[in-house]
Amino acid sequence: MPPARAADHHRVPQAEEELALLRRVALGDRSALERLYAVYHRRLFGFLIRFTERHDLVEEIINDTLYTVWCKAGEFRDESAVSTWIIGIAYRRALKSLKRQSFWLRTDGEAMDAPDASADPSEETGDWLAQGLARLPLEQRMTLELAYFLGHSCEEIAAISGCPVNTVKTRMFNARRRLRELLPQLAEGNGADGTGRTR
């Protein structure tokens, strides 16, 4: 299977419809906000729960994100896709919230100890991969997940994270290199049977 579009279900299926919804939100239309909330709750929950076990924190980030959307919908310009704009808001909120969590406090640019395997929030992805990901610096991991879980392009990730395209490429490159060091089974293709488990 071409994994290339494996994340298609997360992508914006009808960008024009989302733009129309956002314009109605700018006018104070709560039914449009509700529709947008439903779409982005699903998308953002799936993305954010990969970084923390705390559902309450994920819900708080989503709430903050959609509240900002409500307040600033009138300021949206067509310079980017609606999805890029909204996920960019979520990215900044998530970065701030997650960095407050002791789990993400680092020394020498490294994440602290990987989470206990029994507490892995993404069982289907596999303990070994989850533990490897947990050892990446947060910005690198976010870049990796934005590309492979949400399926964003390099330029979109640059817009979402508010940094140059070259920074995105560097973060991605460093994340991949670190994962190769941490997870030799990834290079060998072990554990890639859909469960990700090597045992």
Partner: protein
């Protein structure tokens, strides 16, 4: 990955470094056509990058696995609405909030510099006269046939409809309340002039959109309201 496995020419080495960085975007299928073609040409002659691409695809497949969302969005949305209602002054649509902000800044600056306040007041008065003249020209039916053109309605949206301009000071909650009173919902807009098109749900208001428009236009939060000509009105 060892560079010794790759072409040694300086240009090729540079191309290889570029290709290594671009592999993820080929793996997630978001690469533009020129870059994709360039990368494919490199892959044809670079075994290490082909292996790298397979590795990225495996990783992408692992990460793209769907996480089951255990929660309904409804409780979260209800909390969001509570938050919005708890801070009505901050939740007016941005267009109006920006106007408030500008007024506040002007007022603060004026207090510090009286001469500036006089100049600002004169400028504001001139703008007000201009705005009122423009509004009068736009709203008087016999003088503004182009407005009637605007109010012909969107043929794509059938049923009784209104054209409404809300006051700059109206909050989102007030706007919603006003629309609920006539069973209306915004279907398009705003135009550059702030005009929104409102569809009326079947009921008393839809049976007499002109009366609904009259009622709306009498409300403090509404600057203008009119029934759309030929949009399902009886």
């Amino acid at each position: 990955m060892k560079l010794s496995k790759h072409p040694q020419a300086r240009g090729d080495a540079r191309e290889h470094r570029w290709a290594e960085q671009m592999l993820p975007w080929l793996a997630n299928d978001t690469l533009g056509e020129p870059e994709r073609a360039r990368l494919q040409r490199h892959l044809e002659r670079c075994a290490a990058c082909r292996a790298g691409l397979e590795r990225e695809r495996r990783l992408a497949a692992q990460l793209a696995q769907q996480v089951v969302v255990p929660h309904s969005p409804q409780p979260g949305f209800a909390r969001l609405l509570q938050r919005i209602d708890a801070a009505p002054a901050r939740t007016a649509p941005a267009r109006w909030r920006r106007l408030f902000a500008r007024s506040a800044v002007s007022a603060r600056g004026s207090a510090a510099r009286p001469w500036y306040a006089v100049a600002l007041a004169a400028q504001a008065a001139a703008l007000l006269v201009l705005a009122l003249t423009t509004a009068w020209l736009a709203l008087a039916p016999e003088r503004a046939p182009e407005y009637r053109t605007l109010s012909q309605g969107d043929p794509a949206t059938a049923g009784a409809q209104l054209q409404v301009v809300f006051a700059d000071s109206v909050t989102a909650a007030e706007m919603q309340r006003l629309l609920e009173q006539v069973g209306g919902r915004i279907v398009s807009g705003p135009s550059p002039a702030g005009l929104v098109q409102v569809a009326l749900a079947p009921g008393a208001a839809a049976a007499d959109p002109a009366a609904a428009a009259r009622w709306l236009s009498q409300q403090p939060g509404v600057a203008f309201a009119a029934a759309v000509l030929g949009a399902g009105a009886p």
